[in-house]
Symmetry: C2
């Protein structure tokens, strides 16, 4: 009797009919369902106890587009929040071919060797077009993937930048709650995603190559300005000399920019991820940055500013989405654009007309 | 009897009490009021008939913050719209000290001498802080001010950039309706106003100086990219040689940028506004640009794109204004920012909470 009561209590929870519970198969079925669908508490406990499976499952829920998952995702994040924020967040960018994956793998291996726990994430809103250009192929970091103290997660693809950014930020928090003390966020240096990544990390590193006219033409305006450090990669063999020259040039160029809020003057260093040289130096550079910023209180202040930025950013994005997805606005917008194009109405009048509709 | 009826009809319109009309003074008073307050039709007729006073009065109504004037402003613009758009709109920017006023005066004088009608406007949202740094002192263009075929109007100051931009765009339309075929919009090269001005003109001209390290450090990233031409000003006396060298350097630098949509490669020329040299050449450069763009249909297409840009821009700005000025949001925003700063809530959750309130 007692046992039956127990199973019928379960049936309510799991939404299984009474008739199903009358045989053992059904009970096994419930157990398997339970194994598959972890509760928010189970996931959070798993994450905090450094269970990679729980972390992966939780990230999948965060990345899910299903409404069913949205509430659960919010619960998980809220519960992880008190355990988050204890990490160094590093953004790494560079054009394709610069050797980002190799560099991140070398850096990651070095970090786990000195006792760090490393999570590698990627922001690449373009990956649905390019077929997943970064981290899509996990084998590109095959050594790091096998490392117990490393966690690698490719980007949620085929999303708006805003969506990807939000999910990446939330994933950072979960990784932090999971005890990862160094978070690396990779991004491909060709789009708007740099600004997004720059706004969620403590340190922003730009990977460059020497030669090939890269010194001038490859510099995306704005990205140079964001960098806290530039690492000239592939500085090996015949490349060492040009790399050193590039180092001098970039150091000079970086001095032309107005000083950063934290008084940090961006540094330039050379490395060969392939030959494992310059990796320790790159990390020491990051450490000295963090030390400086923690001493002058910039580190925490910067994170608060980033949070405020994301608050405002999310509001602005949502305001626009809600407006432009409003059915009446959608219809009227086309007509107003046509009227504006034909000079029948000023853009301002058309705008106010649409706002009134809304 | 008949006369009395007439005056009492007036009294209703003008809001004057019956007792006031009982004497001649009061009637004179009404007439004087009428002289002062032109109707929208009167203003539009005046503008079309090239009456500078009507144009000035209409611009004042557009610039007014009073709600009473908003409706009238809309009427004026709507009625002017069919007469607008027949002009070349030129944006001119450059850092303080580069000689913008002198250059605009020289160019303006040259243009009126070849039969053009020139309107000079200014966008300077910072002028309330700087005390009106551009065009504020009309005497800086004292020759052009006296020219019958020129119209000079300082910027509406102390406004948000969005507000100033809107009013400037509307002022451009009124000037065009007033028969001005060349509109020059001046902006000071230190802020966001360049983007706004760039989005309302057909041709964007950057004034530079040779020497003084200006070649590299003075270049506001983004502004160089916007320029359709660079004029190296103050190329006189000992400055001619450095100016020629700067011309070569800028020409080379401009070739590094990706080509513009219209296939126009930005040109560099030298001038001395003070000595009146290079002014004709600057104008011929603008003319050749306009010719190219009209031939490949870019000119009209570009204006349509600009109108669409302003439509979307105005909507976005208004959506934000309305949200952040909402009383409940205002109160809650402070609390949410605090909670976000204390890591009690994620920025995304805070954003959605505020959006729900709204």
């Amino acid at each position: 009797m007692n046992k039956k009561k127990h199973t019928s209590a379960l049936s309510e929870k799991e939404g299984v009919s009474i008739s199903e519970i009358t045989n053992k198969n059904a009970i096994a079925n419930i157990r398997s369902k339970r194994r598959k669908e972890w509760s928010a508490d189970q996931l959070v406990n798993g994450i905090i106890n450094r269970d990679k499976v729980a972390l992966s499952k939780a990230i999948t829920i965060i990345e899910s587009k299903s409404i069913k998952h949205a509430k659960k995702a919010a619960q998980i994040i809220q519960k992880c929040l008190p355990h988050a924020n204890q990490s160094i967040r590093i953004g790494i960018t560079g054009v394709p071919g610069v050797g980002k994956s190799t560099f991140i793998e070398s850096l990651g291996k070095y970090l786990t060797s000195i006792g760090k726990r490393v999570a590698v994430l990627a922001v690449d809103p373009s990956s649905s077009l390019s077929g997943g250009s970064i981290l899509g192929d996990k084998t590109r970091m095959e050594e790091l993937v096998k490392d117990d103290h490393a966690f690698i997660r490719p980007s949620a693809s085929g999303e708006s930048l805003g969506g990807v950014a939000r999910k990446t930020r939330e994933t950072i928090m979960l990784c932090e709650a999971g005890g990862y003390d160094t978070i690396i966020v990779e991004t491909v240096g060709v789009g708007q995603s740099e600004t997004a990544v720059h706004s969620m990390v403590d340190f922003f590193l730009l990977l460059k190559l020497a030669g090939a006219g890269d010194e001038l033409q490859g510099i995306k305006r704005g990205i140079m300005e964001m960098a806290d450090a530039i690492v000239i990669n592939k500085a090996d063999g015949d490349n060492i000399k040009p790399a050193r020259r590039a180092k001098t040039e970039f150091t000079r160029a970086l001095h032309l920019y107005p000083p950063k809020q934290n008084n940090w003057i961006p540094k330039v260093t050379i490395a060969s991820a392939l030959k494992n040289s310059g990796i320790k130096e790159s990390w020491e550079l990051i450490e000295s940055y963090v030390k400086t910023c923690k001493e002058n209180n910039y580190f925490d202040q910067h994170r608060i500013e980033q949070n405020k930025y994301w608050l405002i950013q999310t509001i602005d994005e949502q305001l626009k989405n809600r407006f432009y997805e409003h059915p009446e606005v959608k219809d009227a917008l086309k007509k107003q654009i046509k009227a504006v194009s034909n000079n029948e109405i000023t853009p301002f009048e058309a705008a106010y007309y649409l706002l009134e509709l809304y």
